[in-house]
Amino acid sequence: MKFGVVIFPGSNCDYDTYFVLRDILEQETVFLWHKDHDLKNVDCVVLPGGFSYGDYLRSGAIAKFSPLMQEVKEFASKGRLVLGICNGFQILMELDLLPGAMLRNKSLKFLCQFVTIKVENDKTPFTHKAKKGSVLRIPIAHYEGNYFAHPEIIQGLEANKQVVFRYSDAQGNINEEANVNGSLGNIAGITNREGNVMGMMPHPERASEILLGSQDGRVIFQSIIEYNS
């Protein structure tokens, strides 16, 4: 299948994601330039992590005006797969492809560390190869990853099983201590109602090789690949 990784000015996990998709998972992968209007016939668009537009104004707030985002919205509306990682998740929320917003971490500090997340829904195109209830060890690296939404939105997310990942301890217990950034309901990743757009704060591309300490992130990319085949 063919992946497209979008480059915004200030993206900095673009090459990391490209490397995992192309070199580790051996998939055809292309970069998509934010100023273009061309999705190059990809099967899945990935909005990578980083600091698009320096995170100035608000994370993702300026990136949503990039020309390519018109095409990405259309692509998503047709049920095609869109994955947003970290800053990509923030951009998806600004684009209204996903509900909610990110507050600053409860510690008011940037956090870069391995965390454990529990798979809450294994029926999505992004997680069907993982087992519900299993725990993935994947790093986070963000300042604004404290998920927030109005109670009725949260209720909707829960009712529709749109919560895909929650911060948990290594045994899969969802508790306050495991909730590193203070997210409502320990939410680490969600999909849209239709399930074809997913945003997650942890970085699966940083957990796809033993050398880097974990390959638990691969299951997400592998799910996408198998879903598409």
């Binding site: 000015p9 200030g10 993206s11 900095n12 996990c13 090459y15 990391d16 490397f19 995992v20 070199d23 100023k35 992590g49 980083g50 600091f51 537009y53 320096g54 995170d55 100035y56 500090k109 940037f110 956090l111 870069c112 560390q113 790093p139 690296a141 300042y143 970085h203 591309e205 940083r206 090789e209 050398l211 880097l212 300490g213």
Partner: protein, 735 residues
């Protein structure tokens, strides 16, 4: 008219001024005076340090570029080279910690990508006053956020470094930033202004009034006017720099330019005159064309501004359009502000008038060089007299105190604010002896470490200099890497004082000796003098950055114990050396005596043995003994893995228990091994005539140490790790 007061404001002596007049054959105008004051400042000219720096070894068969360029370059094989350097941003970081540290990161990054290399790692060496003082607390918090904000945003991982706390840094904290980049050997770029008529392009941020006299500020002591200096600190924009990195690397890769130089300290002045001086050419620019973000800036202000995120490019004449297109793609302007000329002059025009007309040679190469007076400081008389040291009966309490000393405690509170994983090359997470980074698609793996114990240097500068190099190399050996090159950042007090200059000379001699023994060249670095407030200097603080190579990343090893029942082996020997230790400092409140002595040849042999043991795969964990001594080293081995392993040590050395546990005798490394490999390890040691002895084995939930059949330490790992982890976050807890 130029009078004494004006000269004083520009930090120039009367003699220096007279030399300027003689060199240019007339009185300089105010803009020209400003230019000389910057380029002849200590920060830019190295006028006090030059004579001593010359004694450092800089040659080696892998050296592509030694000192004198933006950064040093070492050939690492496989067609690649590493470009690296360390630089200080001390003065700005005290006045305005967040921006001072952030722009320190921005500055060193530009030095690296200017040479065509993509930066892949940042490390920081930080020195603060004790955190009980709220000002120190705020400085550390600001510095760490500044580094975090800049490095994270631009997407270059901050993978390591070191942090020490000492009263001497309360009014002069140190922020030394190291950066390393990787470049294909054929694609290295230099700061050259070649080709008469080639256009000079200004790229990046617009020029404002920020940072005027930054370099001069870094060349004087702090006094009561500290607060007034705040406007001298620049403001960083990591997003703009990220765009600059991408655009510059693109024009370099496409070979559209002749030379490139960043506008760091001394801004437009330094970049224009240095590029011309290195090429034996001249440069002519028109200030009316310089993008400005403030109104009515004078030529003096434009030439001296240290606004960040700016670069000067000499493009190939026929490629200007293409260069401009690439910058436009990244939403950056590339404005032609002048051209390369012959005749070796820097000519600057504003409003149609020539406002600067100076020979670049005079600006860059004819600054006076000082062989300053040296004097052995008198404090050494009293520090060398060591009164009797009381010995405790039981050592749990002193060990707990050490675990909670800020210098020795866990630094996670700091490094988890840094994105240390972006670029997905970080093979060893922070907290290990050295940072390890793979290079994608290549076999070679890089290891980097920063080191420098200033207490040793204060008490015996030459020994301190030697140990800084030796320990850095030992840290590399502990992860399985061989050292290939060194950069140094030398932080000292006021060089006009003979005692400071003596410390400087001694430390340099120590560094030079150690580099000779280890056979590693110094490829550049930075000198930061005037780290002094109200006449009180910091301890002499060299920070040594060493880059090493691991040939086989599958052999990579980490410091924590890996399993139960593994024999623990000490490489090297225990001696009764307790003075100048962290134990004396933080438990008994004494900063006295001589630092541990070091036999560099023995050190090197121990390291080589360690490297061989790692390459043979006969050790499971490796950690060096440094500050805090054997006891702290062992404690760290117990809990540096996520899974903790206790241990039982049986020590037989007939020396004082306090020295045995906490003394900082050099050249020691603690390894653990599996039972089946123990004999191989000991045989190898014997073959190489290395002292290696089994001192205990892993297992249990406690750290237990017995000395001459007496239990001297028995502490639960749970408690030990908690103390070690809680020290740094504690002062910052929101109550």
């Amino acid at each position: 008219m130029i009078d004494r007061k004006l000269l004083e404001e520009h930090n120039l002596t009367l003699e220096e001024y007279e030399k300027i007049v003689q060199l240019i054959g007339r009185e300089p105008n105010i803009t020209e005076l400003g230019i000389f004051s910057l380029m002849w400042s200590e920060h830019c000219s190295y006028k006090s340090s030059k004579v001593h720096l010359k004694t450092l070894p800089t040659q080696g068969k892998n050296v592509i570029q030694g000192p004198g360029e933006n950064a040093g370059i070492i050939d690492i094989g496989e067609g690649l080279a590493v470009v690296f350097k360390i630089e200080s941003h001390n003065h700005p970081s005290f006045i305005e910690p967040f921006q001072g540290a952030a722009t320190g990161v921005g500055g060193i990054l530009r030095d690296i990508f200017t040479m065509g290399a993509r930066p892949i790692a940042l490390l920081d060496s930080l020195r603060f006053g004790p955190l009980v003082n709220s000002k120190n607390k705020a400085v550390m918090e600001g510095v760490v956020s500044g580094i975090s904000s800049y490095g994270n945003s631009i997407g270059i991982p901050t993978v390591g470094g070191d942090v020490y706390f000492n009263e001497c840094y309360s009014l002069n904290p140190l922020v030394n930033v190291f950066c390393l980049g990787v470049v294909e050997k054929e694609k290295i770029f230099y700061a050259r202004a070649e080709g008469e008529g080639n256009p000079v392009l200004y790229v990046g941020a617009k020029t404002g009034r920020d940072g005027i006299h930054g370099a001069t500020m870094a060349s004087a002591e702090f006094g009561e006017d500290l607060e007034e200096k705040r406007p001298n600190v620049q403001v960083g924009d990591p997003f703009k720099e990220k765009l600059l990195v991408e655009a510059c690397l693109e024009v370099m890769a496409k070979r559209l330019i002749v030379g490139i130089q960043d506008m760091g300290a001394a801004g437009l002045t330094c970049s224009t005159s240095e590029m011309a001086a290195k090429s034996g050419t001249g440069i002519e620019i028109d200030l009316d064309l310089v993008p400005q973000r403030e109104e009515r800036m004078t030529p003096y202000e434009i030439m001296l501004s240290e606004s960040q995120e700016r670069m000067l490019i000499v493009a190939k004449k026929e490629k200007v359009k293409e260069v401009q297109q690439i910058f436009a793609k990244w939403d950056l302007d590339a404005v032609c502000i002048g051209q390369v000329t012959k005749g070796g002059k820097l000519r600057v025009k504003a409003n149609g008038k020539t406002v600067v007309d100076l020979p670049v040679e005079a600006i860059i190469n004819l600054c006076p060089v000082y062989e300053r007076e040296l004097k052995r400081p008198s404090y050494l008389e009293s520090t060398q007299k060591l009164e009797p040291i009381p010995q405790p009966k039981y050592y749990n309490e002193p060990l707990k105190k050490l675990l909670s000393s800020a210098t020795l405690a866990d630094k996670e509170w700091i490094y988890r604010q840094y994105d240390h994983m972006v670029q997905t090359n970080t093979a060893l997470l922070p907290g290990a002896d050295a940072s390890v980074l793979r290079i994608k698609d290549k076999k070679k793996t890089l290891a980097i470490t920063l080191d420098g114990n200033s207490l040793y240097c204060y008490l015996e500068p030459r020994t301190g200099g030697k140990i800084a190099v030796a320990e850095a190399c030992r840290n590399l050996a502990c992860v399985g890497a061989k050292p290939v090159g060194v950069t140094n950042c030398l932080n000292f007090g006021n060089p006009e004082k003979p005692e400071i200059m003596w410390q400087f000379k001694e430390v340099i001699q120590g560094i030079a000796q150690a580099c000779e023994v280890f056979g590693i060249p110094i490829t550049g670095g930075n000198v930061s003098f005037y780290n002094e407030t109200d006449g009180v200097p910091i301890y002499p603080t060299p920070v040594i950055g060493v880059v090493g190579i691991l040939e086989d990343v599958s052999k990579l090893i980490s410091p924590g114990f890996k399993e139960e029942e593994n024999p623990i082996v000490l490489i090297g020997e225990n001696k009764e050396e307790i003075s100048a230790s962290e134990y004396l400092k933080s438990v008994l409140n004494m900063e006295k005596g001589s630092p541990p002595q070091i036999d560099l040849k023995k050190e090197k042999r121990n390291q080589e043995f360690c490297l061989e043991a790692i390459s043979l795969g006969i050790v499971r964990s490796v950690h060096d003994v440094s500050e805090g001594g054997l006891a702290l080293c062992i404690a760290e081995c117990c809990f540096l893995n996520e899974q903790k392993f206790g241990c039982n040590l049986e020590l037989k050395d007939e020396i004082r228990t306090d020295a045995l546990l906490f003394g900082e005798t050099q050249s020691r490394i603690v390894v653990s091994t599996q039972n089946q490999n123990l004999q191989k390890l000991l045989d190898l040691a014997q073959k190489r005539r290395i002292k290696a002895a089994v001192i205990g084995k892993t297992g249990g939930d406690n750290l237990v140490i017995r000395h001459l059949d007496q239990e001297v330490v028995n502490i639960s790992l749970e408690e030990a790790k908690r103390l070690w982890k809680e020290t740094l976050p504690e002062p910052y807890k929101i109550r």
